[in-house]
Assembly symmetry: D3
């Protein structure tokens, strides 16, 4: 397959892409045309259908996989596809996995690591609770492996929710080794549950956008409520432990102004909010620096999450 | 009964009070004594047992109703009771209702008003949900009538939760009359549910203090989760309406930094957050001015909730 | 008359509009043309004179009513008028009331409601003061009925100042019913005066922009000073009441950072600042949702006044 | 006269002081006594009347000048006067000027400097306006010379308002020399008027506390309104200049959150707000360091106005 | 020479300019062209090379002085140069001083004033330290005279660092005259050193942009460290005085959030931070008003440094 | 030795303690007495000398080790020592290590761990720089082992600076394992240097208070400058690496308002600021919970560093 990131000006393209966006428009001269955004897992590409009524331009819709024929041109420094022919592709003509940004790590391997950590949890009721989600519920597992952790910022790719959850959990393990006063089982459980509400907050790929519930309620409250529901199915779950676990999830954004309705009040809640923040910032920088060659120390300008100008370190 | 607010220096007292606080201490000369705080519904009174080992000083504990004999003295401008005899009072010697601050309005009358509003709600599933709490659950009704709405600030008295809930609901009714675009049934339901989480956030009188769950989870999240649970018992409850109702409860503090995990995004959520704020501030001023005689326009100093110096208006 | 909001692509137009904006420009090819913004009470429309030197293009200026002939085209999703002929319209060819955004309510009816409220004020000196502005000064009445309450945000239309003032005053009436401790006469008077400074802060339509004094002094201080001047004409006006009334006006934005030089310190000042805020936010949402069909629950994105993403409630 | 600042433990005192504060109290043993605060221009002194009913203790009230006889003792590191005899002093027994904190500079000399600056103002209408206040109104002059500029912070002494006004005006003169684009007449006039509202905001000595109007309206608005009134008596005063002058007064606190309803928008308003701030901070430090010996570089702890720990500079 | 600020539409130009920016682009039709920004000391000009491959278009690079032939056109209200011929200019064809924005004051005269102030410093070790930088180090003097004080805001021109430093120092002199408690030698030394770190923070003209060290360390810390190094070469320099001087430099931005790691704690540090702020704001306004004719009181919109809408004062 | 933490009411004590504080005072009856605070490594104890002029009360000063004889009493819930005899202790009568709060870990062992990490650094110039401080400079090692990391908050004990530095460095190691993009040598070096400025910011025990330089310059700038000085002794140290290392130190507080003059702009600077924050907060909680028995889940009230009420987790 010819991926978007390797296209060059002047090429003729004949390939299936995912149509992420479609909008009709009119040129200054009053001629109708179509604006498209095409996507595969390596990036996105602007495309124009200058003659939408010509032969060879068939019907299709946003989020269809489409087979396009056209020429790569360059406009104001960016590549653009001048579409000559387009039609909806048939299942079998394409491999869905090629069209979405994906984690650079293998999702099954990562899920395996998560399972290993679950098996190291000793408190029976916590282990039971984790099993209800991560081990016994196959539908949950499937969704959890496929979901992103964000719409646009860090971990906004297939497997992103899993990769971030694993990263946070492993940081928490490191914290437990260094600060033995931490309740390891509570902290690791909270880490694995902290973002499960994102399964409801963001729609699945290829849309990957905020849901109505996501905007109204948010992943913090939805995740807490979900965990609360499952806990009620475990009669022997201690009430105090349940509240502590839910507190850790509620407080994981660390500050009221970041959407946590409570500030971290337990040592584990403090640790979890740090782990979440560290993994988010490290991944943000990793993604920002991904395409910068080693040794390039140019400044990249202002990064909103870091609230600072940033650059790659010399080495 | 001889209420605390009418005691005068020099009186001998022989009465039953609630013991709100008890602590042992030592004078500069090394003599042990006891610090008490006595309470009835009109206020509190410092009391000292200077001779804790003398005859007539029987055993009792914090939150007991105690029969005390002693003399009212004055120390640094405040009254103090010098306790000579004390013993635990027997049920029948006192009327619990005399010992807690209570709403100036009749709780049954207020609850009746709330029921009238419920009967005016037309949307069946909302009416059904309201009934499950306010009409069918007698234990809920009893708790709801007795609870306060706060530990120390406005509405911190028996019936306070009911009085505040009714006040907010009636403001919302007024808003609906003025802004017909508001969904009346949604707004009134949200108003009646907005603070039910306080039943779990604050312990019952006479303690009336934050519970463990109150500190870890807060009334906003607990109330939302509680409403969510009951909604699941009504299969035909529309999912979107459920999320909108829960959003109104979540967002009723209006700002993230006041503990709402979401800002109001619906017209009804905006209206509810204003109604809550208006009723809280009006009651705060009412309580602050309660003991100020008509026509007295002395400044009362800084009020933390209002974030301003305040005074009563001339009239 | 053919209103802007009902124009469709492809139509030929022959109508009088208000010219809100006019600017000369040059195409990429170096050809001069004219950018216009046309306005009537239903909205605005971009227009282009591609041949400014051709016959049929007469002289006119910004804020003139102009008779235009041209074709409606569509450019980048928005309509545009391609002007073929244009000339200044003669008085009699148009009805000024058709060209400005206006309140959906009848201004005389609203003014009548305001007068009714004034007649319910019992304190003689306040009633006298209100009369001096709203009843006796016909020039004031005329300006007050025609003015907007804002340049761009809520109530930015003819009659907007009146509609907002009436809305705030009626909310204050509702507050008085619920909180009898409020001094009704003081609060309602303050409500009716709270924004009269906007008559000086904003220029009249069609300009409706900040005046020099508006920027230098602001409506809060100008309104307070104006009321102060008139009070000096009423010798028996109690000094304390005068200061309380002026305080309510000064403090009606509620917070120093919103331009009030004092925080509300009186119960009536607190109530007024809430009423102003409630009416502003409700109207903002009403205007934002005005063109959204019933049942459409799409998210409208970030609203600056609400500081939140917003959407219409399902119903 | 024996000033408070030179009293030493063990002395017998027989002197007239101003009674700034008086309150009845009761010892732990139940004995009534009186707490006084005595004042002269060098400071204040706690005093106790342990035997308020004894012979020699006559009637007097707060703000009376009282003749006291007593012994200087030391309690917890501070001096205290044990009062044996006290009576109201007769006019003639004391010199009021000895009992209030006063400017270290001669008020007539400072007022002369202010007059010299007024005579250098060239714009006729501004000169006329300044004359109406500072030259022609002898009652104004008398009040202006006697008033303080603050209740507790910098310039809280007799002559303080004049000293601060002169300091600010002279800084503005220096700014004019360095930045010729500044309109000297406007800036110096605004400087001289900027705090005249304090004549109404603070009561006169010895009380020197916020007035009711001071709390409700504040010196910024009252001063602006006062200047506005006088301007209306000068028909030829240009409207734009009037607004600019009033803007400078309104904006002199520099930030909305410091009580200015407008941010400085003119070069002169910016300059005035800096001059006010510089003079306030320099005087605050001067007063804080006044009693610190040369060469002592001990840290004085946190200063609220400077928002920093401070110390005197080594030299 | 034909300066950019006097070019008019329709002119043919044949002149040498500095090429500040160069970028290749493609028209909508797919044709390659070049975007340039040309600069001389009077301003900048957009230029286009529509036929980059035609004869007469020679090689050149960003920051080259280039000889261009072309026609001045107007596009969307701004002038644009349509370049027909271009080549790298030879040294001798141009005078570098004509191509950079420069101080309106003579740099040697300003430097002379600075030297006069140095000669008035009496404390030997401070005088010695000043000499090491400003008198003995000719390379430093040359750089100091040529540097700007900012990338884009106030004093962003050749000589700007010197002009700002002199302005701040003279304000400090005025403060010393008015507040004799200030240590004049310490304050004036700190004023002269306060921005020397900008020599490292910003690259030299024509680039005048943040350096890598500027972004990583900042001029405040670099300047402090530089002064610290030189102080170590003066063995008799008192340690306390050294720390006080360095504190004044560190604290000169006045607030932690403006990048000072310490708040001003000494009277001189407070004075310096004010002088820096006053000079910056006055110069900002001077530059903003530079091209506004006398008497024009149009509002200029929001100014980011002043955080307010601004306008020129009427006169 | 009889440590303070095991003293009980009623005991007679005959022991050497460090005198941390001494102040003369007067009882209400006018009798002079002495307030002392005694200290050993287990805590502090209030002590009173009621008869300072009696035999057996010898001369001594603050920070002396004193041999005291007295009785343990209890006053208002706290123990107090009633001192009968006191004299300065002789060297040999006490072991200084017994009188200061100390790290619970062995300082030599921790220092050994730090050396092991240094030996794992591969970049020669960084290793050389680390050696100059931690390996070659024995005086530095001695001071570094003895110093605290704070006056009052976390790690305020002998060895605290070392324990905190080691904790931060080990967290950074964990971050490097999880995020391989981090430059390990740079990050670990920055971690070990990040707080060395505290050697100058805080005086040594037993005083352990802010120094004059600490208040004027702060540990962030002093540490950066110190590292900069040593780097200049290593000619081959790359300039860019030097700036990156210094940037990490400068930015380690993470936010301008916490005293860092630059926000973290490099991945290592971000990681270091998190590691510092995590270790500080974990230690704060550890110290807060140190004396709370396992299983006690009482709320401890508001913790200023955490900005939340806190409690120990149930287990």
């Amino acid at each position: 397959m010819k991926y978007i990131e390797i296209l060059r000006e002047g090429e003729r393209v004949n390939e299936v892409y995912l149509c992420k966006h479609r909008q009709s428009a009119v040129t200054k001269n009053g001629k109708a045309y179509e604006n498209l955004i095409l996507q595969d897992k390596t990036g996105t590409l602007d495309a124009k259908i200058w003659e939408p009524d010509s032969q060879g331009i068939d019907d299709f819709e946003r989020f269809d996989y489409i087979s396009v024929t056209g020429d790569v041109t360059s406009f104001q420094g960016a590549l653009q596809l001048n579409v000559k022919r387009v039609r909806k592709a048939q299942p079998g003509e394409y491999e869905p996995g090629d069209y979405l940004p994906v984690s650079s790590r293998d999702v099954d391997e990562m899920y395996g690591e998560l399972k290993d950590i679950i098996s190291s949890v000793e408190t029976p009721c916590l282990k039971m609770l984790l099993s209800k989600f991560f081990l016994e519920d196959k539908e949950f597992e499937k969704r959890f492996k496929f979901h992103s952790a964000a719409k646009t910022v860090h971990h906004g790719f297939v497997g992103g929710l899993l990769e971030h959850t694993l990263g946070v959990t492993k940081l928490c393990e490191a914290f437990c080794r260094q600060y033995p006063m931490l309740n390891r089982d509570l902290l690791l459980s909270a880490a694995m549950f902290h973002d499960i509400g994102k399964l409801e907050e963001l729609s699945v790929f290829p849309e990957n956008d905020y849901t109505d519930d996501g905007q109204l309620l948010g992943h913090i409250v939805m995740g807490t409520e979900w965990v609360g529901e499952k806990i009620r199915e475990i009669p022997e779950f201690p009430k105090k432990l349940a509240s502590e676990l839910k507190h850790c999830i509620l407080a994981h954004h660390g500050e009221l102004e970041y959407g946590s309705p409570k500030k971290p009040a337990l040592m584990e809640a403090v640790a979890l909010s740090f782990a979440d923040n560290v993994d988010a910032k490290m991944e943000t920088l990793k993604e920002a620096f991904a395409s910068i060659p080693e040794g390039n120390t140019e400044w990249l300008g202002y990064n909103r999450l870091l609230e600072s100008n940033i650059r790659k370190t010399s080495r």
